[in-house]
């Protein structure tokens, strides 16, 4: 049942890159949609590994953490505002 990790990473990255075009910072919950068969933990682990590989990046207010795709800029305040 477990999803192949490399497959999942590919899906998460594709999904995030597509999304980044109009919304540059995402919550982990947004990334769950990359693969409905994967559990939240699997998506979280895949996303965190992508950060380690430099393909995604973290942004944090200090209290919440969001994911971004390097190169897709928008100011950080903008990203947090977007969610309110």
């Amino acid at each position: 049942m477990a999803v192949d990790k490399e497959e999942l990473k590919k899906k998460v990255l594709e999904f995030a890159t597509k999304k980044a075009a109009h919304k540059s910072k995402m919550y982990i919950k947004d990334l769950y949609a990359a693969d409905p068969n994967a559990s939240p933990r699997e998506v979280k682990n895949a996303a965190n590994e992508l950060v380690r590989e430099g393909k995604l990046e973290f942004f944090s207010s200090g209290s919440t953490t969001m994911y971004g795709v390097p190169g897709f800029g928008k100011t950080l305040e903008g990203a947090f505002e977007e969610e309110k």
Partner: protein, 428 residues
Amino acid sequence: MADVKKHDTPMCDELKKGPWPSFVDDVEQRGLHGKQECLDMLGQLELSYKHKETHWKHGGIVGVFGYGGGVIGRYSDVPELFPSVAHFHTIRVNQPASKFYSSAFLRKLCEIWDHRGSGMTNFHGSTGDMVLLGTKSDQLEPVFFDLTHQMGCDLGGSGSNLRTPSCCIGKARCEWSCLDTQAICYDLTQTFQDELHRPAFPYKFKFKVSGCPNDCVAAIARSCCSIIGTWKDDIRIDQSAVKAYMGGEIKPNAGAHGDRDWGKFDIQKEVIDLCPTKCMWMDGDTLKIDNRECTRCMHCINVMPAALRPGTDVGATILVGAKAPILEGAQMSTLAIPFIRMEPPYDEFKEFVDKIWGWWMEEGKNRERFGELIQRFSIQKFLKVAELKPIPQMVKEPRSNPYVFWSAEEVEGGWKRDIAEFRKRHAA
């Protein structure tokens, strides 16, 4: 080299006038002795008081390589006025359990921070961490290297991570502790390293461990999962010491209220009448407790520590869902497990954690605390997920909590409902 204070800070200076040492004095002194950041920080604070708005930008980079937490990015939005705090990131350092330090450790930490940061610290942040206030982006990796290689310590949690677990002083110094709070805190910190260092959840999650219901770390008010020591058997009573309290030979509350003459100690008024469940009485000159009715509030024990002690059949009460007042107001944590053994490797407890995290990761909205998730669904849903049975202690009072409804599977024999049959007897 002495620095010069370039900004006037009349409003900050007001704060120096109170009876207590002021952070303004401390920060200014450090600034005048070589840390321009301290002076710029005060200058920016003054401007924020004037504008009634913060001048710190919201968030940014979150860590050192491999970590998604522990560093909180802070940038000035008026860097041209206060250039030395243009980058002013906070570093959370995981405190040792119960916050024991050697003076050598503290000196070394201060040396590192004087060298690589503003020299300003905050012992401790409300999560429990040691907080190093203010450094530049290029100093983060070197500080992390020194912390891990020279000090043997690690970053704490921030963002949507597990936050640094914290605990009371426990058995190290407190005879009331029913738990080895330090062992539990350390074990949780090690077990959940991934959740601590990398975001895993919709929002923050906190564990706090208190050795007894006095709850010195305020776990019940401040943690998503409160672990509070308790006992199952009887309060231990030394009747001769009870008599000594009554005869005035031992000071009540270990002398804690001794700065005033409160008159002769009155066991009826000061202990028995204040027992919340009225389960104590004097039988002649012998103190009696109906332990089945005792709620382990600690009051009698706090007043007469030489006479009364917690029992010896010990474990923890687990409560969930406390939070600060951002949504729906502040909330204390709610009873989940009245009694659980807390012996390493704490498997039963960790299974519980796994279940509730699974639910929260699945259903939690962005930035929804665990307590808010329970509020949005229900206690009943929480109990189902955690595979716990409802008990009366989960209800605050009739009618302020939702009813718990049973489903047919939960009741022996179950039942069938035939709506057509029902409607024959009752018009819609």
